[in-house]
């Protein structure tokens, strides 16, 4: 390795001191941010907000883990503990993971990847952000009222009677749902109508395919959550009892409706991360994906079959044995789509020119956690084994492997991958790789012991636990501290880079994907002139044609030493 600072432009502010206009420096007022319809600025707004919600959810997680240092009370009482794990789940799922990648990175790069000036409905995009913010506020109101203690699943009839702030919480999630739907509609329409002239469906970067599939799920699944949570709110507030057995209601039907949303929601969370990973692995392998169509079609496949498997969350919940068998076999068929994706990524590296950069380290973390987590997913979808594992720490570990191990590392990969494009600065690569390694180590240490706890029969959502489980809990807690510290460290060096990092070139990674055809950071309308994408987004057989506009001083192939190996 010759130099670790890649893609750095030696001259600040372009050539001859001419200040290049970017989406960032075009205006600096608060109003110019608050009322912007620029998809890039909205993406940044989302990014900042979701980082805050991640901090909130992460703080909850650390407190919860610390409480579990001892089997009895450590420093929280059971009431607070129950409210906190619920709010941890709600904040992480709806405030962070579902919006994180599509709204922040999707908003930022989707139109650029398509060669468009903006998304199809820029004002709706801003509205979606404010609806999201309103939802966040309601969840915070619920928190201020003491939080909700039902678990993020809101199972009736407990949620209908729980003496906690159920109504503001479900209202917040209801509102967040509309934000998700609007973003989804916006992205679908953008993909259909805003592609630059001459760009066919199979020349879109793969991230777009994944966003497109996610948007379909968002649009079609979220309303079901909205209606079922609305009913929970009515049951709680007015005691309408639609799921109340005393009035002929059936609590199991609530679970059907909830998981009809929440299983696809898992794909809402993981598919965008898969898209990021596909971009990252192609860029840093410097090679075309081993099968473009496999990645594209499997995204759509996941979007569809994800709707057919919700019942595997209910094997011991009182579903009929016929349905259990049906959902069991459907789940096994779904797993195959994720397997296709994994094999395609790995085979992409074959005969490539692989260079280890921070995003690729995150790719390896993602690969490890997603593959192992996914395989345990196949295991828990095996009906008879799920009897023992259902509602134990095994499940907790499994979905954290997928959700944190998958989505969070995918998000971090994307953050590091597009950081130069979004900010025009480079972060310190050595810190980046250290941070990525520590995140992975902390994560593994936190959640691997939980598989063993689950095997031993430790149910989830337990405040007191059997003292024989203590050693594993302690390991898990220490791991969570490491993870928290690594995340703080990442935030630290990224902030430093944001203000003091060296300038990044237009294409620091020597990628072929279309967002790198524009300077970093991009100008207000994404491209200084009508973009011409000469190459396939994954054509690494010829050198990068360059940004095209030399006047902005950010040629892709600057001699400063980009993408060296």
């Amino acid at each position: 390795m010759t130099t670790i600072d890649v893609g750095v432009i030696p001259i600040p502010h372009g050539r001859g001191g001419v200040r290049r206009e970017t989406y960032l420096n075009i205006a600096h007022t608060v109003k110019s941010w608050a009322l912007t319809t620029d998809h890039k600025r909205i993406g940044i707004l989302y990014l900042v907000t979701t980082i805050m919600t991640l901090g909130l959810g992460g703080a909850f997680a650390l407190i919860l883990r610390t409480e579990h240092l001892t089997p009895q009370m450590t420093f929280l009482d059971a009431y607070t503990y129950n409210r906190m794990f619920t709010m941890h789940g709600i904040v992480m799922v709806w405030l962070f993971m579902i919006p994180s990648i599509p709204t922040a990175f999707g908003n930022f790069v989707l139109p650029i990847m398509l060669g468009a000036k903006d998304v199809a409905f820029p004002r709706l995009n801003l509205l979606s952000y404010y609806i999201y913010l309103a939802g966040v506020v309601w969840v915070l109101v619920a928190l201020w009222m003491g939080g909700c203690d039902t678990g993020w699943t809101f199972y009736t009839p407990y949620s209908a009677h729980s003496p906690s702030a159920v109504v503001p919480t479900v209202l917040g999630i209801f509102i967040l749902g509309w934000s998700t739907i609007i973003t989804g509609v916006n992205f679908i329409v953008t993909t259909h109508t805003m592609r630059v002239k001459g760009m066919g469906w199979f020349r879109m970067p793969l991230f777009v395919w994944n966003l497109y599939a996610v948007s379909i799920i968002q649009v079609l699944a979220t309303p079901v959550l909205a209606i079922s949570l609305a009913i929970v709110g009515l049951d709680h507030w007015f005691d309408w009892g639609l799921f109340d057995p005393a009035r002929g209601g059936d609590p199991v039907l609530y679970q059907h409706l909830f998981w009809f949303y929440s299983h696809p929601a898992v794909y809402i969370m993981i598919l965008p991360a898969m898209g990021v990973i596909a971009e990252v692995v192609c860029t840093f392998s410097h090679k075309n994906p081993s099968s473009y169509k496999a990645i594209a079609y499997s995204a759509l496949g996941i979007a569809f079959v994800g709707f057919l498997t919700w019942g595997h969350h209910m094997f011991v919940a009182g579903m009929s044995q016929f349905d259990a068998a049906a959902f069991g076999v459907l789940s096994m068929l779904v797993a195959i789509f994720s397997a296709i994706k994994v094999f395609t990524w790995v085979l992409t590296m074959r005969k490539g020119s692989v260079v280890l950069r921070t995003p690729l380290v995150y790719f390896f973390a993602f690969l490890f956690l997603f593959v192992f987590g996914g395989m345990t997913g196949v295991a828990v979808a095996t009906e008879s084994l799920d009897i023992h594992w259902h509602d134990t720490y095994f499940i907790v570990a499994h979905f954290h492997f997928i959700m944190v191990g998958g989505t969070l590392t995918g998000w971090l990969a994307g953050l590091h991958y597009w950081f130069p494009k979004m900010t025009g600065r480079m972060y310190n690569e050595r810190w980046g790789i250290t941070g990525a390694t520590l995140v992975f180590a902390g994560f593994f240490l936190t959640f691997f012991p939980q598989f063993l706890l689950g095997n031993a029969g430790m149910p989830r959502r337990y405040y007191y636990y059997n003292p024989v489980y203590q050693p594993l809990h302690v390991v898990s807690t220490v791991g969570s501290w490491l993870l928290g510290a690594a995340m703080l460290m990442t935030l630290g060096y990224l902030l430093v880079a944001l203000f003091a990092g060296p300038r990044a070139s237009a294409n620091p990674w020597d990628s072929r994907s279309y967002e790198w055809y524009t300077p970093s950071p991009p100008p207000k309308h994404n491209f200084t002139k009508e973009p011409v994408f000469a190459l396939d987004p994954y054509d690494y057989t010829v050198p990068f044609p360059g940004v095209g506009d030399e006047a902005d001083g950010s040629l892709a192939r600057d001699p400063g030493g980009a993408a060296n190996g």
């Binding site: 409905f121 649009v219 309303p223 209606i227």
Partner: protein, 215 residues
């Protein structure tokens, strides 16, 4: 100012297509929004066919059927309104859209009357009321709670549709949309038709299908 092409679109046709596609995707979302309740109705009716049948026979068939007619006529008028606007007859179009909004208001009025009648009979949502003393069949409570939920949600959509059409009417009157760009009204009308379609299914489920029919 909807008659101008927003700068990031190439032309009006593309913009119109984008808006139309957006509305249709949103409608798919709306279908799923109602589907949760339809699924509850179907499963509960499967569990308690007798109670649901009794409750259907008790429901106000005449008023529900009149409302069906009202909505079908309103769908026709708004479709005709779009047709007239495309032909450049804004005055007629405005009149037809106005009639549509009026019919929507009639629908809501009749619906309110129905609710008040039910309250008078002691049928409240949540299985509360004197009615259930005589009609204790399992399922009747669930039927009427679902009835209030689904027709209530539908009424909210009718109201939303009236607001949308009102806004478009205002635009027609101010000559902001016309035959050169009729697509906002066409898209608004599509939403109104969806409200009609949902009622087309609510009507048989809550008024038409008597007891003992499932299973």
């Amino acid at each position: 100012m909807a008659e101008q092409v927003v700068e990031h679109f190439e032309d009006m046709e593309k913009q119109a297509h984008a808006a139309r596609l957006g509305m249709w995707i949103f409608l798919a979302s709306e279908v799923l929004f109602f589907s949760g309740l339809f699924a509850l109705y179907t499963t509960y009716r499967t569990e308690h066919p007798h109670g649901f049948g009794v409750a259907v026979e008790h429901n106000t068939l005449a008023w529900g059927s009149i409302n069906t007619g009202v909505l079908l006529v309103s769908s026709y008028t708004v479709a005709l309104g779009v047709h007239e606007l495309r032909r450049g007859r804004q005055r007629t179009s405005a009149l037809l859209v106005g009639v549509t909004i009026f019919l929507g208001a009639c629908f809501l009025g009749i619906k309110t009357g129905e609710y008040l009648k039910h309250f008078g009979e002691g049928i409240y949502p949540g299985g509360v009321g004197d009615f259930y003393r005589e009609h204790g069949e399992p399922g009747t409570k669930m039927f009427f709670t679902l009835y209030y939920c689904m027709t209530g949600l539908h009424a909210v959509h009718v109201f939303a549709g009236m607001c949308v059409l009102g806004f478009l009417l205002w635009k027609i009157v101010r000559r902001e949309i016309g035959e050169w760009a009729p697509h906002p009204l066409a898209i608004g009308a599509v939403y109104w038709h969806l409200v009609d379609v949902i009622w087309i299914f609510l009507w048989p489920l809550f008024y038409l299908i008597p007891g003992g029919s499932v299973r």
